[in-house]
C-alpha cells in the first residue's frame, strides 16, 4: 500500500464523507468545548464587572515558585484551566438513598442533546470544497426542536433520582417550564420557514446571504466590495434593496426573533427563567446532590446548550456565518476560515448578551413564566404566523 492508493481510497465518495464528517465533528466539538470553557470564565468576569467587583484574577503562572520576582496573573485566565482540573480531580460523591442508575444517567442526558444540535449548525461555508456543516439535514430546525426538548428529561430525572426535596422541585419545575415555552419556541420560527421556504439551516443562511439578514428591515441588493468604488452602482444597489415587502415583513420577523430569543433563554435554563436551578430558593435545584464531574456535566450541558441556542439564533435570524463584503469559502480556504470565525464571533456576542441579561434581570416567578408562555407568547406567535402569511399574500410579486 503506497500513499497513492491510500489517497485514492480516501477520495471514494462514502469514505470521503465518513472521514470528513468525523474530522468536522471532532474539530467543532472541541471548539465548542473551548468556547464553553471561555464562556464560563466570561460569565464570572462579566458578572463581576457588572457588580463592580474584579472577578477571578489570581490564577496564572506562579513564577515565584520557580524563583521569579512576581507571579504573573494574566487577568485570571488560568481559571479556565483550573476549574476543569478541580472538577475532574474531586471525589465523585454519590449520596446514600439515590437511585444510582438514573443518578448516573441524568448528567449524560443533559450533556448529549446540545452536542447533537451542533450536527446541523452551519459553522461555516466551505473549506477545500467540504461543507462546514456536519450534517445538512433538510429538516434541520425540526431536528433542533426535537433534540433540544430531550434535555429536560435529564433534568427531571436528576431531580427525581436524587431522592431529595429541592432537586425534586427543580425537576418538576423544569418539566412544566418546558411545556409553557416549547410551543411558542416552535411557532415563533414558522414565519422564517414561510419566508425562506426551507427547514434546512444551510438554505436559510443562503437565503439570508442573498436577501439580507432576517432581523434587518433593509438590505442593499448585490452589495459587493467592487460596488463601493463606483458611486452610480452603489446608489443603484442601495435603491434596489428597498422594498415594501421587506419592510412589512420586518414586523413579524422582529416579533418572532424576540419570542425565539426569550424561548431560548427558557430552553437553556438561563436567568430570568432558571427556575429549575434557582439557587436562592432550591439550593442548587436539580443538581444539588451532584459533585465533581457529574456536576461538571450539568454545567457543560447548560453552557453547550447556550452555545447551540446561540448558534440556532445566529443561523436563523442573524445571517449565520455570512458577513457583508466577506466572500464565502469558494474563493479560497482563507475565506472559509474567516467564515467560521465570523460564525464564532456572532455566537460569542450572543453568549455575551445572554450573560449580560442574566446579571441584569431578576428571576421570573413561577406563575409569571407560565402566564408569559401561555397567555403572552403562544397567542402572539400564532397571530404572527397569520400576519406573515397575509403580508406574503398581499405583497407577492
Amino acid at each position: 500500500m503506497d500513499i497513492a492508493t491510500i489517497l485514492h481510497f480516501l477520495t471514494i465518495p462514502w469514505v470521503f464523507l465518513l472521514w470528513t464528517s468525523f474530522l468536522k465533528s471532532f474539530i467543532f466539538l472541541n471548539l465548542t468545548i473551548i468556547v464553553v470553557s471561555v464562556t464560563v470564565f466570561a460569565e464570572r468576569k462579566v458578572s463581576a464587572f457588572i457588580q463592580d467587583r474584579s472577578g477571578p484574577n489570581r490564577v496564572g503562572i506562579p513564577l515565584t515558585l520557580f524563583g521569579g520576582k512576581k507571579d504573573s496573573f494574566f487577568w485570571g485566565l488560568g481559571q479556565m484551566v483550573a476549574d476543569p482540573i478541580k472538577l475532574l480531580t474531586k471525589e465523585n460523591f454519590v449520596p446514600a438513598g439515590v437511585n444510582k442508575f438514573y443518578f448516573w444517567l441524568a448528567p449524560k442526558l443533559v450533556m448529549i442533546p446540545p452536542i447533537l444540535i451542533l450536527a446541523v449548525l452551519p459553522f461555516g461555508s466551505t473549506l477545500f470544497g467540504v461543507s462546514m456543516t456536519i450534517s445538512e439535514l433538510n429538516v434541520g430546525v425540526l431536528y433542533i426542536f426535537a433534540i433540544s426538548s430531550l434535555s429536560v428529561y435529564g433534568i427531571t430525572l436528576a431531580g427525581w433520582a436524587s431522592n431529595s426535596k429541592f432537586p425534586f422541585i427543580g425537576g418538576i419545575r423544569s418539566s412544566s417550564q418546558m411545556i409553557s415555552y416549547e410551543l411558542a419556541l416552535g411557532l415563533s420560527v414558522v414565519p422564517v420557514f414561510m419566508i425562506c421556504g426551507s427547514l434546512n439551516l444551510n438554505e436559510i443562511v443562503d437565503w439570508q446571504i442573498k436577501n439580507g439578514w432576517l432581523v434587518s428591515p433593509y438590505w442593499p441588493k448585490g452589495f459587493e466590495l467592487s460596488t463601493l468604488i463606483h458611486p452610480s452602482e452603489l446608489v443603484h444597489t442601495l435603491i434596489a434593496g428597498l422594498s415594501i415587502q421587506r419592510f412589512a415583513l420586518w414586523i413579524p420577523l422582529l416579533i418572532s426573533f424576540i419570542i425565539f430569543l426569550v424561548a431560548i433563554f427558557a430552553e437553556t435554563n438561563r436567568l430570568p427563567f432558571d427556575l429549575p436551578e434557582a439557587e436562592q430558593e432550591l439550593v442548587g435545584g436539580y443538581h444539588t446532590e451532584y459533585a465533581s464531574m457529574n456536576f461538571a456535566l450539568f454545567f457543560l450541558g447548560e453552557y453547550a446548550a447556550m452555545f447551540a441556542g446561540s448558534g440556532a439564533i445566529v443561523s436563523l435570524f442573524l445571517g449565520g456565518w455570512s458577513c457583508p463584503l466577506i466572500p464565502d469559502g469558494s474563493h479560497g480556504w482563507f475565506w472559509g476560515l474567516v467564515n467560521i470565525g465570523v460564525f464564532f464571533v456572532k455566537v460569542s456576542l450572543m453568549l455575551l448578551f445572554m450573560i449580560w441579561v442574566r446579571w441584569t434581570l431578576p428571576r421570573f416567578r413561577y406563575d409569571q413564566l407560565m402566564k408569559l408562555g401561555w397567555l403572552g407568547f403562544f397567542p402572539i406567535a400564532l397571530a404572527n404566523i397569520f400576519l406573515t402569511a397575509l403580508i406574503l399574500a398581499f405583497t407577492h410579486r
Binding site: A48, F49, I50, Q51, D52, R53, S54, V357, T360, L361
Partner: protein, 176 residues
Amino acid sequence: MAIVVNRPKLTFAERCYLPAIVAGLAITWNHLKRALFNKGIVTMQYPEEKWDANMPDWYRGAPTLVSDEHGKDRCVACQLCEFICPPRAITIKPMEIPDGDNWRKVEKRPEEFDIDMTRCIYCGLCEEVCPEQAIYLRKDYSITGLSREEMVHDKKTLYKLGGVMNGLVFKWNDLK
C-alpha cells in the same frame, strides 16, 4: 381583618416588561463599561491591600499577653481565663515565685501559657475576666500555620504579639 394591598395600575409598557428590561440592561452596561476601564471596582485585593489602618480599637483579634510600661509581664497565673475559656483553648502551668525573689509578693507567675488558636473562638471572655488586665484581644486576625503545633501560641509568642499596654493595675510595681 384582612389587609387590602392596593396594587398599582400598570401601564401597557410596564406590563410587557421590555422597556424596563432595556433600561436595566443600560444600567448594567454602564457598570460593565466602567469596570472594563478599571474604574468603580470596589474589591480590595486582600494580601496586597489591607484594612489594618481602619481597624477599630475594640476589634477582637487574637488573644495576647501584654507587658506594662516598665516591661514587666503582667500575668499572675490566677488561671481565671483558663477556667472561663468556653472552648478550653487556654492552658496555663503556674509557677510559684520563690522566696528571695524581688517579686515574691506577687506569689505566682505562669511557667507556661499556651493558647490553642485552632480552638480559640475570639469571644474575649479571657480579656473580660482577667483581674490583672494582662490578656488582651489585639488586632491580629490572620493566624495561620502549617501544623496544629504551630497554631498553639506559647508564652513567648503571646508576649511578642501583645506588646506593651499601659494599664491601671499595679501589682507588678515596687511602690504599690
